[in-house]
């Protein structure tokens, strides 16, 4: 373990950290907004396609891509969790505790968001996109 990473590495580390904590949330938000928006608006316009792409394919993309992004965030959060497992908190200066807290939050919330996206995907398998 390097004790003093350079600023670039710290920035990358910081971004990875926030991806681990919030990646699933953002991916799910995108999934929901695009999935819902495309479905409701395409069906309201009476069309079963988004441009040249069939509606079901477009909707699958709004499920699969965010799901993959969430899996990535889950892996990042797991990494963060492991990196903070054996660090002894020396009380004052290095409160690793809060990183560990956020790592745990990241793992669990990414799992939750993954579940939501997958459940939406199951609905896509059984429901015709425009059935009311």
């Amino acid at each position: 373990m390097s004790t003093h990473p350079d600023p670039r590495a710290r920035l990358a580390g910081g971004l990875l950290f926030w991806y681990a904590v919030l990646g699933g949330a953002i991916a799910w938000a995108l999934h929901l907004l695009t999935g819902w928006g495309i479905d409701e608006l395409a069906c309201a316009a009476g069309s079963e396609a988004v441009g040249p792409v069939p509606l079901r394919t477009a909707l699958s993309a709004t499920v699969v891509l965010p799901a993959l992004a969430t899996v990535g965030a889950l892996l990042a959060a797991t990494l963060l969790w492991r990196r903070t497992t054996h660090v002894v908190t020396d009380g004052e200066d290095r409160p690793v505790g809060r990183s560990r807290l956020l790592a745990l939050v990241g793992i669990w919330s990414n799992l939750l968001f993954l579940t939501i996206i997958v459940l939406g995907g199951i609905a896509l398998l059984v429901l015709p996109p425009c059935q009311r």
Partner: protein
């Protein structure tokens, strides 16, 4: 809680209960409800047992503070078990959603219902006439209901037959009804629609196909002719007074389109979409001044000649 269960299973006291389903859609949902209900009871019982256990065994006067973070119990009881239950329930819900979406085919009977403040207009495509606050369906068939609104949002709800569908301004919505049990089923507007939202009920009459066809043909034919002098005077008063400006009686000079078609008003179950029962007293009061019967409705008080009021009642009651 036990009392609640008892109350749920048995006596809803003649209410249009969603738990006394008569239709395919409502039947599905009632089954779903009982699954949800027992799961909920189990979860609730679990919580109560833990709570009572803590209350019984953990009440000690002991000021020593304890620490430690046993996460496993919280993770399993609070997240693991609920996850399994919820995924199951979600799947069940999805199954029933698919079933509710399995509507009638293109050749099925269609009935058009238009929501007005505060009554329901009922028409059948290809049939000339209209009626209000009462629609008939043939037993055993899936019937398409096409829903529009003339003004604000309403919601079409027959608890014993089918979950709600809202009537959206500027759009057409569809739902369907199917029942194997002949009978009458009460429905009511379920989306707040203004002053008299409380009095916007309707009836669904499920009857064998033959009687349904009779209803259809009656809906398409002119209203009954007056038989007595009083009724004839009543019809005259109706056509020449302000009534005809808003109401239609098929086969007469009255062809207003603002209020409900009154061609079969004598046979209806109520006046004012469930506001009061349909009999002479209420009818007379309604004609002369409906604002005291159903305040805020859009029919203005009618200055009818005193002698003509009994005639109008007689005439309208003869329209069956």
């Amino acid at each position: 809680m036990l009392g609640g269960v008892l109350a749920l299973t048995g006596c809803a006291g003649g209410a249009p209960s969603a738990l006394d389903p008569a239709g395919t859609g409502a039947g599905r949902v009632a089954d779903l409800w009982w699954v949800l209900f027992w799961i909920s009871m189990a979860v609730f019982a679990e919580v109560m047992v833990l709570l009572v256990w803590a209350l019984v065994f953990r009440r000690r006067r002991d000021a020593r503070v304890r620490h430690g973070q046993p996460l496993r119990f919280v993770a399993i009881a609070g997240a693991g078990i609920p996850l399994v239950i919820l995924v199951t329930v979600y799947a069940l819900g999805l199954r029933d959603l698919v079933a509710l979406g399995d509507g009638p085919g293109p050749e099925a009977t269609t009935i058009e219902v238009t929501g007005h403040r505060w009554w329901w207009e009922v028409r059948v495509p290809g049939v000339a006439g209209a009626t209000a606050n009462e629609l008939h369906i043939p037993v055993g068939e899936k019937v398409r209901i096409r829903l529009r609104t003339a003004d604000v949002l309403h919601s079409f709800w027959v608890p014993q037959l089918m979950p709600k569908t809202d009537l959206i301004a500027g759009e057409v919505r569809e739902t369907w009804l199917q029942t194997d049990r002949a009978g009458t089923y009460r429905g009511q507007c379920a989306e707040y629609c203004g002053t008299q939202h409380a009095h916007m009920a309707f009836l669904v009459v499920a009857e064998p196909r033959r009687e349904f066809d009779a209803w259809l043909s009656q809906l398409g034919s002119p209203a009954a002719r007056p038989q007595t002098d009083a009724q004839r005077r009543g019809q005259e008063a109706f056509e020449q007074g302000s009534c005809a400006g808003c109401h239609t009686i098929r086969g007469t000079g009255a062809d207003g389109r603002i209020g409900p078609d009154l061609s079969d008003v004598g046979s209806r179950w109520s006046i004012g979409a469930g506001a009061v029962s349909n009999d002479g007293g209420h009818l007379g009061g309604w004609i002369a001044n409906s604002q005291t019967v159903k305040p805020g409705n859009f029919m203005p008080p009618q200055p009818v000649d005193a002698q003509r009021l009994p005639d109008l009642i007689a005439y309208l009651q003869s329209l069956t």
